[in-house]
């Protein structure tokens, strides 16, 4: 069998392109063949201690108890640097495959965990209530190909988030178990009225379709065993591994969402956040190496998000209370690394919150229009300017 890498070499040399039109998959994939990985930082990660404005005296004034010490910051320029736990992301930064989106938010922010994540998941305006996730709306309007195992998979969470409200979504813990258990779903359940039962019948349908694709494949060679590489640390790494193992089977999905929980740090924030950021950075670096091994890193765009950021000023318990604009990461083989948005302006801040520089719907528009080449206007309820963070 023709190895993908060899084929790419051949294609690069200008051979065979006209002879083998059916092998268009080997060209740069477009549309939903490109993978979007959403990483949810649940609880509202504190952005100021993630991308640290260490050059600002105001930062140290506002955070006498929990600021990251100047000498520990992994410097990016004279003003900002990364939290020391994010060291595994530095190679990505140096390779210009990591973009830092500073000041991501939206007008009239809501500081409730639950309402705010609903806004992020549905891409609604602050005062608008939508029942479907933004990806669900996209896939309803511009569907994924029928042969896709599912629109998306959800890992490390039972909540579907942006895939809520009717997308073909599968919660994935372990592909082998999934395929085995799926036999318990009856073959042809008849249609049925009543919404609770209808929902259950719909999930049974999703399971049947996904199971057909996720069924264990015979391994052709040991080198193609999906679980090569060291055992990942922590739940986030395991979820990344589950995802890449699934993709290694040749399963088609458009999106994966992985949740990393525990960022609701009202008290004694430092050790908790340090541990979580390390887990995040290790997992993202692992995503890069495994997707590179699968030859799909150039077709992968990973974006982090959270319901909100934290307030610039620390509270009395060495923690932070709910705030607004936050920093987020975009990474992938085609990402134009660098800084986007605006570094937090802390001068004069006492109790207040930070204004946003990037609307979160611009990030979604970038994924829909720029990454997948679909149209985001109806999905996002208007035209949002994309960010120049993708290379073509």
């Amino acid at each position: 069998m023709f190895k993908r890498r060899e084929f790419l070499k051949a294609a690069g040399a200008g051979l065979m392109l006209t002879v083998l039109p059916n092998l268009s998959w080997a060209l740069a994939p477009a549309g939903y063949k490109r993978l979007l990985v959403l990483v949810e930082l649940k609880g509202g990660n504190d952005g100021l201690n993630t991308v640290v404005p260490y050059g600002s005296a105001d930062y140290y004034r506002l955070r006498p108890g929990i600021a990251v010490a100047r000498e520990q910051v992994l410097r990016i320029n004279g003003d900002i640097g990364l939290h020391p736990s994010l060291a595994p992301l530095m190679p990505l930064w140096q390779d210009k495959q990591l973009a830092l989106l500073q000041g991501v938010g939206y007008p009239d922010p809501n500081l409730s965990h639950f309402r705010s994540i609903e806004i992020w998941d549905t891409a609604s305006a602050s005062q608008q209530y939508l029942s479907e996730g933004w990806l669900t709306r996209l896939f309803h309007e511009q569907p994924t190909p029928k042969n896709f195992a599912a629109d998306g998979v959800v890992l490390s969470s039972q909540v579907l988030g942006p895939l809520d409200g009717g997308a073909r979504a599968v919660v994935l813990s372990n592909p082998q178990d999934f395929a085995r258990q799926a036999k318990l779903v009856a073959d042809q359940p008849p249609g049925h009225a009543g919404s609770a039962l209808e929902h259950i019948l719909k999930v049974e349908g999703d399971i049947r379709q996904a199971a057909a694709s996720l069924a264990p494949l015979p391994r052709t060679a040991p080198s193609e065993a999906p679980t090569a590489g060291p055992k990942p640390k922590g739940g986030f790494g395991v979820a990344v591994r589950t995802l890449t193992d699934t993709l290694a089977r040749g399963v088609d999905i458009a999106v994966a969402r992985i949740t990393l929980t525990g960022f609701d740090t009202h008290g004694n924030q430092q050790p908790t956040q340090g541990r979580l950021l390390a887990e995040l950075a290790d997992g993202l670096a692992q995503l890069r190496s495994e997707m590179t091994r699968l030859g799909r890193w150039d077709d992968t765009l990973a974006l982090t998000y959270a319901e909100f950021g934290r307030r610039p000023r620390e509270n009395g318990n060495r923690g932070t209370d709910h705030g607004t604009a936050n920093v987020h990461f975009a990474l992938g083989g085609r990402v134009n690394g660098g800084l986007y948005g605006q570094t937090p302006q802390l001068a004069g801040v006492s109790e207040g919150n930070l204004p946003h520089a990037i609307d979160f719907r611009q990030v979604y528009a970038t994924a829909i229009d720029g990454w997948w080449g679909k149209d985001s206007r109806n999905v996002l309820g208007g035209r949002f300017a994309t960010l120049p963070l993708l290379r073509t």
């Binding site: 500081l111 979504a169 999934f178 318990l184 359940p189 609770a196 039962l197 996904a210 009395g316």
Partner: protein, 481 residues
């Protein structure tokens, strides 16, 4: 237990659906909604009653204490998570002991849900656990969670205002929402925010300013060295606060009284009870009327629940709720008189299904409804039910006669012998015995006893009640109530 069986046997001659009263369908509906599952004997007990009489009977039996004895450590002083000067080995031993206590705590509550003479009390306690959420990962003390569980049960059908005041001073809650660390000059807003958003008013009925001022009012509240509630006047902000437009040097209790004065509190709680006990789509006009009465009664929960359970909408709502994991697992045990040999199995299963008691995912609790069912949890549910049904296969047809009917007398005698011999401590379903004792002769009988709505997959023609059970357990309709 024996008495229940014999009583049911005595009633065998009666048709399942009697002419007067709520009938078997109504009884099954009322029992599953106010408790966990519905045993045919329980159904027989309520079927002849009117709606009022049946609801009153359930409310009259409501208890305020658990019947299951708690684990031995439960009433010892609170464990201290961070004692200084411990060696690594001592810390490890302490952690192991605490983990063991967590296991015993879960097992105790699940056993109480299975065995209680007052299922509504446990259903309400679970409801309040999911309303006034605290979770072990942050509270860290099983004793504190146990004490909170007693508190929630004590007020489960009592006075909501008293419950709210008690919860605000509850050590587990104070630790979970950081009230224990709230002092003048540097207020922590966590409790102030959640008490408004999730416990009383609901979103849109307060401002960020109200939260900041309420946080100031809760300053000075804390826990003493024994983790008991204490007010520390020197840490208290004694300045004037403005909350909901009212001015004063309010303290924490004043804030709670202000919250109880807001009309949206009664509406918010009533809506949530509706979604939990009736359907996902509360009827606004009915809810507003119930909430107004609730507020006028100074937040008495028993009359509110009585009125809610007597709405016509309640009696039309079969199949509109998705069974929660606890309703599915405990309900199945109750329905078939099963007892797990080890409650840890059921606790682990509930965790996999997304409802680990004493560990809700966050302060908003389990979202519930359709969110209980996704590809992963649905498969795990079916696996559990499949195992029970498969275990049952050898016991099925044990009392089948040549013409396909059941030797009911033999099946009944066998079941009673097993009860007397106290060998029913297993998760093995005995369909023939169960069907014989409860007079479940046809597949249609079984479907009416086990499902809130007709099965999604057609029943095999002429199947006996015992034979239909395995298929009915795996039918999608078994997932709703």
């Amino acid at each position: 237990m024996i008495k229940r069986i014999l009583l049911a046997s005595a009633l065998l001659g009666l048709p399942l659906c009697s002419l007067a009263g709520i009938g078997a369908d109504g009884a099954r509906h009322l029992l599953t909604r106010t408790g966990f599952g519905a045993n045919p004997a329980q159904i027989e007990g309520l079927a002849p009653l009117s709606r009022e009489a049946a609801v009153d009977k359930i409310l009259a039996g409501a208890r305020t204490q658990a019947a299951t004895p708690p684990p031995g450590w439960a009433n010892e002083p609170f464990e201290r998570p961070g004692q200084p000067g411990l060696t690594e080995e001592q810390k490890k031993a302490l952690q192991q002991e605490r983990n063991q206590h967590v296991v015993e705590l879960r097992s105790w509550w699940l056993a109480e849900m299975r065995d209680t003479p007052s299922p509504l009390t446990e259903k309400m306690t679970l409801f309040w656990h999911n309303h006034f959420v605290s979770a072990l990962d942050k509270v860290r003390s099983p004793q504190m969670m146990y004490q909170q569980n007693l508190l929630l049960r004590h007020y489960a059908l009592g006075d909501f205002g008293q419950l709210l005041h008690a919860v605000a001073r509850d050590p587990a809650m104070m630790r979970y929402l950081d009230t224990a660390n709230n002092r003048k000059d540097q207020p922590n807003e966590n409790f102030a925010r959640e008490v408004m958003e999730l416990f009383t008013l609901g979103e849109g009925h307060y401002s960020e300013q109200d939260i900041r001022e309420a946080a100031r009012a809760f300053t000075g509240w804390g826990l003493d060295r024994d983790d008991q509630f204490i007010v520390r006047p020197r840490l208290r902000d004694a300045g004037e606060k403005v909350i909901f437009g009212q001015r004063g040097d309010f303290n924490g209790d004043d804030v709670i009284d202000l919250l109880l004065q807001q009309p949206s509190t009664a509406v918010f709680v009533t809506n949530k009870l509706w979604r939990n006990f009736v359907s996902p789509t509360p009827d606004a006009a009915t809810v507003n009327k119930l909430a107004a009465d609730f507020r006028r009664s100074h937040y008495q929960l028993k009359p509110l629940m009585r009125a809610l359970l007597l709405t016509p909408q309640f009696w039309r709502s079969q199949g509109q709720l998705v069974k929660s994991p606890v309703e599915l697992t405990i309900g199945t045990l109750v329905t078939f008189d099963l007892n797990p040999p080890d409650w840890r199995v059921i606790a682990g299963l509930n965790r996999q299904l997304g409802q680990d008691v004493f560990a809700p995912p966050n302060v908003k609790g389990w979202p519930g409804g359709e969110a209980w069912i996704n590809s992963s949890t649905l498969l795990t549910r079916k696996q559990f039910l499949d195992r029970i049904a498969r275990d049952a296969a050898p016991a099925r047809d044990a009392y089948a006669q040549a013409d396909g009917s059941l030797n009911e007398m033999a099946g009944r005698e066998a079941r009673i012998r097993r009860f007397v011999g106290n060998r029913l401590n297993s998760m093995k379903l005995q369909p023939d015995e169960w069907a014989a004792v409860y007079g479940v002769r046809t597949a249609a009988d079984a479907a009416r006893l086990l499902l809130a709505v007709p099965p999604a997959n057609p029943l095999p023609p002429n199947a006996s009640g015992a034979k239909a059970i395995a298929q009915l357990l795996l039918d999608p309709a078994y997932q709703v109530e």
